[in-house]
């Protein structure tokens, strides 16, 4: 029995369908625009659906938690090798670190800015080491000056930045005292003056910034050295030379006015003036 051969020719419908398919526009529409349209319709439809969005957010959160809870990402210990106890307490107060936590949840950049916002910290490095160690390296500001600004006593460093607020002057007797507005902007000059004042630095009670432009050096026994706006250190050096040669500062002088370098002025105490007058009269042979 021979197999019945089927007619190989296409039916009219199939023939027409194939010819329609051969149209370039139809093929392009079906192959490109139709899938594109379906995909965008699906995406837009899903994105506009509240429940789908909530479910997606939940799933994302769950996924993130699963990852964050991996023991490899766990941070358990904190190391602050450079910080003093006082600073450590400040850092804990500011940085809001709750250990143990996942390294995904620790925002290193935020901690760094928070710590650097502290007065006492010059710069900080925060890093997470493998093995679950959060390390905070801090460089503290070193206070060099005590600045009395109005009623408050501040400790400031060489850059004039505030380090801390001091309760009593007696807490840091080793640091020089500075008074006056704008004093914090001229700290380097103070160090230069302290160098010059080396031999009598024990007598220095403080420095006064006058009119935000020039310095007065106040010694004990209420002696004051008034320095000019420019070349204050040089003027001080001249005063020290006087002191070495004439022993000026040990005498009964109230004010040494060096504001005009051509014409230094000494103001004596009342007592000294009286004494001077007596002695002059004596020299001239008069009665007092």
């Amino acid at each position: 029995m021979l197999p019945i051969k089927h007619d190989p020719s296409p039916s009219l419908l199939r023939y027409r369908a194939e010819r329609i398919w051969l149209r370039k526009s139809v093929r392009q529409a079906v192959r490109i625009w139709l899938p594109l349209g379906l995909a965008s319709w699906l995406v837009i439809g899903l994105a506009n659906n509240e429940t789908v969005r909530a479910a997606a957010a939940d799933t994302w959160k769950g996924l993130r938690t699963t990852v964050a809870e991996q023991p490899e990402l766990r941070v358990e210990s904190l190391s602050m090798p450079d910080a003093s106890d006082d600073l450590m307490a400040q850092i804990f107060a500011v940085a809001d670190i709750n250990l143990p936590a996942s390294s995904l949840d620790i925002d290193v950049a935020r901690i760094k800015t928070a710590i650097e916002g502290l007065d006492a910290v010059k710069s900080a490095e925060v890093m997470i080491h493998p093995g679950g160690i959060l390390e905070i390296r801090t460089t503290e500001r070193v206070p060099t000056i005590v600045w009395r600004d109005g009623e408050t006593l501040r400790l400031i460093d060489d850059d004039g930045k505030r380090v801390a607020i001091l309760a009593r002057r007696a807490a840091r007797p080793d640091l020089p005292l500075v008074v006056g507005d704008g004093a914090d902007r001229a700290i380097p000059e103070i160090h230069a003056m302290l160098d010059v004042l080396g031999p009598i630095s024990a007598r220095v009670r403080g420095f006064v910034r006058v009119g935000e432009r020039r310095w007065d050096v106040v010694l004990d026994r209420n002696q004051t050295i008034m320095l000019p706006e420019y070349g204050g250190v040089t003027a001080l050096r001249r005063v020290m030379a006087f002191d070495t040669s004439q022993n000026l500062l040990a005498r009964d002088v109230e004010v040494i006015d060096m504001r005009n370098g051509d014409r230094p002025v000494l103001r004596l105490t009342d007592n000294a003036i009286e004494q001077l007058r007596v002695q002059r009269a004596y020299v001239r042979g008069e009665d007092a």
């Binding site: 020719s9 023939y15 027409r16 194939e18 010819r19 051969l22």
Partner: protein, 446 residues
């Protein structure tokens, strides 16, 4: 000349040009044994003029490429005419579908060749006075219009009509008289008519396949275009296209066809003879014919046994054998009959008077062994077996002589040489027609 012929030829030309401008044209050869569809892609010719910004794509006429071929067995065609419309429609669909699948392009316009319809040739001649002393296109148009058409009878219609040669005063045989000086212009024209019912059936059938007919040609003409080399077309030659249902004859000279005819005999008749003589099935007979067929017997053929399967037998020992000379004895008289018929037609056409009388045999049945020797003896002239010209992109399987008509159509579409139908005719001056023509021109161009 009737206005009708002009309008028809113009319309065909216009449709074909429009199809080529669209870039993809199908060629459909509806034969008795097979239906072949070629898809031609006309190469876009980039004309980038120095002044213009964008390149204008215009398909160049000559450059085409065959991008798809589909062939299928034809089941509803007898003698090159449609006998069973549904079957032919299905076969056309199958062939077109296969070609489309191969090329990946959609075909809307097809050029169709068919071999039946009892073609008949007429020679026409017309003569006019040249108007301005110099022959213009208008004069040629008027001369064509002056041709008087013989009564070709009811139920027939012209298929081809082409001027063959021009005579200007006493100088005969001009190919193109335009621009020459003379007083009296005469032209000879060849016209081919076929049965119009055959054509209408064919058009109807193709329309049912959602295709537009861009041009219609007789396959004997198409086979001549592809099988005759340029020299033969120029000097005079006949092409005998031996198909399955009919054998077409076309005579060419000066690159124009001057005669076409068809004998309603072909390879199918040989197959039928073998069927009757050996009492076997049609496809078995076809197979035996193509494998062992021949027309000249030698002594060794007496000893060569061909196994003939017996459709009734169920056992091995029931096999039959015939000698090859017996088979040749069946084939030979039929081939002789066909060739004698062809010879009669050629004699009637005046082929004897051509300067060169080359005969080229082509078509599927021309592959019978020894046919060229036999044809030379019967037709009395040198014969050769012709294969169609090579065209770009045609697969090896479609280069055989059976594809002569299809390839010829492709060549005809790319080099039509019938611009003479666009020349101005006297009736173009009539107001209403001129208006209609203007409207059509606007429609075509915008």
């Amino acid at each position: 000349m009737s206005v009708n012929l002009f309008e028809m030829q113009r319309e065909m030309r216009r449709r074909r040009e429009a199809a080529i401008r669209r870039g993809v044209v199908g060629v459909l050869d509806i034969g008795t044994s097979k239906i072949a569809c070629l898809i031609l892609q006309f190469a876009p010719n980039l004309i980038n003029e120095p002044g213009s910004d964008e390149a204008v794509t215009v398909p160049s006429m000559g450059a085409f490429r065959v991008v798809g071929v589909g062939t299928t067995r034809s089941r509803g065609v007898r003698f090159g005419e449609i006998a069973h419309m549904d079957e032919v429609e299905k076969d056309i669909r199958l062939a077109v579908q296969r070609a489309q699948k191969m090329s990946g392009l959609r075909v809307d316009d097809v050029i169709v060749a068919f071999s039946g319809g009892r073609p008949r040739s007429y020679g026409l001649s017309g003569e006019v006075n040249v108007e301005n002393g110099e022959v213009h296109e208008r004069d040629i148009g008027h001369a064509m219009f002056a041709c008087d058409i013989p009564p070709y009878g009811h139920g027939r219609q012209p298929l081809h009509a082409m001027p063959v040669s021009y005579t200007l005063d006493s100088r005969a045989g001009l190919a193109d008289p335009r621009g020459q000086i003379g007083n009296r212009l005469a032209l000879d024209m060849h016209m081919l008519t076929v049965n119009d019912t055959v054509v209408h059936n064919l058009l109807n059938c193709i329309k049912r396949c959602d295709l537009e007919v861009a041009a219609l040609a007789h396959s004997s003409f198409a086979a001549g275009v592809s099988s005759l080399v340029e020299n033969e077309q120029e000097l005079g030659a006949a092409c005998i296209d031996m198909g399955a249902g009919s054998t077409g004859i076309s005579v060419f000279i000066k690159k124009q066809m001057i005669y076409a005819d068809a004998v309603r005999l072909g390879g199918d008749h040989i197959t039928n003879d073998i069927r009757q003589a050996l009492q076997i099935d049609g496809d078995v007979a076809e197979r035996i014919k193509t494998l062992h067929g021949g027309v000249i017997a030698t002594s060794s053929d007496d000893r060569e046994l061909i196994e003939v399967p017996n459709p009734m037998s169920q056992w091995e020992d029931n096999r039959r054998h015939v000698t090859r000379s017996e088979l040749i004895g069946v084939i030979r008289p039929r081939v002789e009959e066909i060739l004698e018929e062809v010879r009669d037609r050629l004699d009637a056409s005046g082929f004897d008077y051509l300067p060169s009388q080359q005969i080229v045999l082509t078509g599927g049945s021309s592959q019978i062994l020894g046919l060229d020797d036999m044809a030379a003896r019967i037709l009395g002239r040198r014969c050769r077996i012709g294969r169609p010209l090579r065209v770009m992109g045609l697969p090896q399987a479609a280069t055989g002589s059976g594809f002569a008509a299809a390839v010829g159509l492709a060549l005809h579409a790319s080099h039509p040489r019938d611009e003479c139908w666009d020349y101005e005719m006297p009736h173009d001056r009539i107001g209403a027609r001129k208006l209609r023509r203007t409207v059509r021109w606007f429609k075509d161009n915008w």
